[in-house]
C-alpha cells in the first residue's frame, strides 16, 4: 500500500503544468440501433514539452439559430446523448509531445421510442495548477471539445427548406435554413451573385456548419469589398448533406 501511494505521489509530482491540447478527429457521427453499443476512439494530443494531467467529461450542448453554442450539465437537454457515453479514462497523464487514444463506448438505450440524431460533447481539459497568486490571480488553461452525434439507425427522417433569403442592409445577406428532419444536417454550397446579364460575378461559399434536428439556422453573408455597386440576383444553392439542394433567389441592389 505504501509503495502504491509513493508511486502515485511520484507520478503526480512529475506532471507539469502546461496548457496545450488537441484532438483528432474533432467530431464523431455514429449510427447505432436502440440497445446497441458502439465503440470508437479519439486521439488526445499535445505539443507541450511537459507531461500534462488531463480530465475528460461529457456535457450537453445546444445551438441557437445563429450557430452559437451553450454548454449545459449532462442530461439537461432534449435529444442528449451525453448519458450514453462512457470513457475508458476520465483522467490521465498526456505525455509530452505525445498522444493518447481514449475509447468511447456509446450505448443507445433499448428504447423503441428513440429516433433521429442525439448529440453530446466530450471535453478534455488540461488540469490547471493550484493557485499560488497573491492579489488578484488569473490562472488559465485550455480545453477541447469532441462533438458526438449518434443517430438511431432505421429511424432517420430527412427534410429541409430554405425558409428565407434576404438583404439586411446594403452589403449583407442572410439565409434561413429549416431542418424539418430528425437528424443533424450539414451545409455546403454557394451563393452566386449574378449580374443583369445572368453572368456569375461573385461566389460566396456556404460554410460547413450543422443544422440541428427540427431547428432553424441563419447564415450571414457579408459581401466582399470587391462586389461593386449595382443590381444583382443572388442565387442560393445550398446542399443538404443528407441529399438534396435548397435553391432560392433574391434580386438585390448593392449600394
Amino acid at each position: 500500500m505504501y509503495r502504491v501511494l509513493l508511486a502515485l505521489l511520484t507520478a503526480m509530482s512529475t506532471v507539469a503544468y502546461a496548457a496545450d491540447i488537441g484532438i483528432s478527429p474533432p467530431r464523431h457521427e455514429l449510427v447505432a440501433t436502440a440497445g446497441e453499443t458502439v465503440v470508437t476512439t479519439v486521439t488526445v494530443l499535445t505539443t507541450a514539452t511537459l507531461d500534462q494531467q488531463v480530465t475528460g467529461e461529457t456535457s450537453d450542448w445546444t445551438m441557437d439559430i445563429a450557430g452559437g453554442t451553450a454548454f449545459l450539465a449532462t442530461g439537461s437537454v432534449q435529444h442528449s446523448a451525453a448519458g450514453w457515453i462512457e470513457l475508458d479514462a476520465a483522467a490521465f497523464v498526456l505525455p509530452a509531445r505525445g498522444s493518447r487514444d481514449v475509447r468511447l463506448s456509446v450505448t443507445v438505450p433499448p428504447d423503441p421510442g428513440l429516433d433521429g440524431t442525439y448529440h453530446a460533447m466530450v471535453f478534455f481539459t488540461v488540469a490547471p495548477p493550484p493557485s499560488e497568486a497573491r492579489g488578484v490571480g488569473v490562472i488559465t488553461t485550455t480545453r477541447v471539445g469532441l462533438t458526438v452525434y449518434v443517430t438511431v439507425a432505421g429511424t432517420e427522417r430527412a427534410g429541409s427548406e430554405l425558409v428565407d433569403l434576404y438583404q439586411t442592409d446594403g452589403r449583407e445577406l442572410r439565409a434561413v435554413i429549416l431542418n424539418t428532419g430528425n437528424t443533424v444536417m450539414r451545409l455546403s454550397g454557394e451563393i452566386q451573385l449574378r449580374d443583369e446579364a445572368g453572368a456569375v460575378r461573385h461566389r460566396l461559399e456556404v460554410p460547413d456548419v450543422p443544422v440541428m434536428r427540427e431547428s432553424e439556422r441563419e447564415l450571414t453573408f457579408t459581401l466582399p469589398n470587391e462586389v461593386e455597386a449595382g443590381f444583382y440576383v443572388a442565387l442560393a444553392l445550398i446542399q443538404d448533406s443528407r441529399g438534396g439542394l435548397l435553391a432560392g433567389e433574391l434580386p438585390l441592389e448593392v449600394p
Binding site: 460533447m121 488578484v136 488553461t141
Partner: protein, 197 residues
C-alpha cells in the same frame, strides 16, 4: 549497335525495370482531421496573470482616482494563445471562468468576476492571424469580460494552416477597481475552449 536492335532492347530494359518493381510507385499522404489550442509559455508552472497591488497602495489609489484600471504586475508563461485546425469546417474559441475565490479578512465584496477584462492586443501588441478577416470566413471580439457563462470570442470557417495567434496574452488583462474592494486575494481559473461542432 545496329539501329534495328536498339528499340527492342530499350523496351526489354524498361520491362525488366517494371518487373523488378523499381520503376513506379505511389505516394499517399493522409493529413489527420484535428483541432488544437495552446497557451504559449515555456517551463513548468501555471499560465497565470497576477495583479499584486497589496504592497503598492499608491498605484491602487492612483488607479481608483484615475480611469479605474489596474494592469498585471506579473504574467507567467502566458505569451500567446494559439489554435491549429486542419479542418475546413467552422471552429470556435470560447472562454469561461470560475467564480472568484476570495481569501482575506473581509467577505470578498467589491470585486466581481466581470471586473476582469481582456482587451485584445492592447498592451501585448499582438495581432491575431487565426481569423483571416472579419466577414464570412470568421469574426473575433476585440474585448471581453470574464464570466461564468461560456462566451465565444473568435470563430472561423476553414483550416488555420498551422498554429495561429488569437492576438492576446496575459498583458492584455486588466481589472476595474473603484476603491470599495475588500482587501485580500481573488483568484479565478479561466479556460479557453476550442470546438468544431
Amino acid at each position: 549497335m545496329h539501329r534495328s536492335l536498339r528499340s527492342p532492347l530499350i523496351a526489354c530494359l524498361l520491362l525488366a525495370g517494371w518487373a523488378s518493381g523499381q520503376g513506379v510507385h505511389d505516394v499517399t499522404v493522409r493529413i489527420p482531421d484535428m483541432i488544437a489550442i495552446r497557451i504559449v509559455g515555456s517551463g513548468d508552472g501555471p499560465r497565470a496573470v497576477v495583479f499584486d497591488y497589496e504592497d503598492d497602495v499608491t498605484a491602487y489609489v492612483a488607479a481608483v482616482l484615475g480611469d479605474g484600471r489596474l494592469f498585471p504586475t506579473d504574467v507567467r508563461r502566458f505569451s500567446d494563445v494559439e489554435v491549429n485546425s486542419t479542418r475546413r469546417g467552422r471552429w470556435s474559441v470560447q472562454v469561461v471562468a470560475t467564480p472568484l475565490a476570495y481569501a482575506g479578512p473581509g467577505s470578498g465584496d467589491g470585486l466581481a468576476l466581470g471586473d476582469v477584462r481582456v482587451v485584445r492586443g492592447s498592451r501585448s501588441g499582438l495581432a491575431q492571424d487565426a481569423i483571416a478577416s472579419q466577414g464570412n470566413a470568421g469574426w473575433y471580439w476585440a474585448d471581453w469580460q470574464l464570466s461564468t457563462t461560456t462566451q465565444a470570442i473568435a470563430s472561423r470557417t476553414g483550416a488555420t494552416r498551422g498554429w495561429r495567434s488569437l492576438g492576446f496574452n496575459g498583458l492584455d488583462y486588466e481589472v476595474a477597481v473603484r476603491g470599495d474592494e475588500d482587501p485580500g486575494s481573488y483568484t479565478t481559473t479561466v479556460t479557453y475552449l476550442l470546438t468544431s461542432p
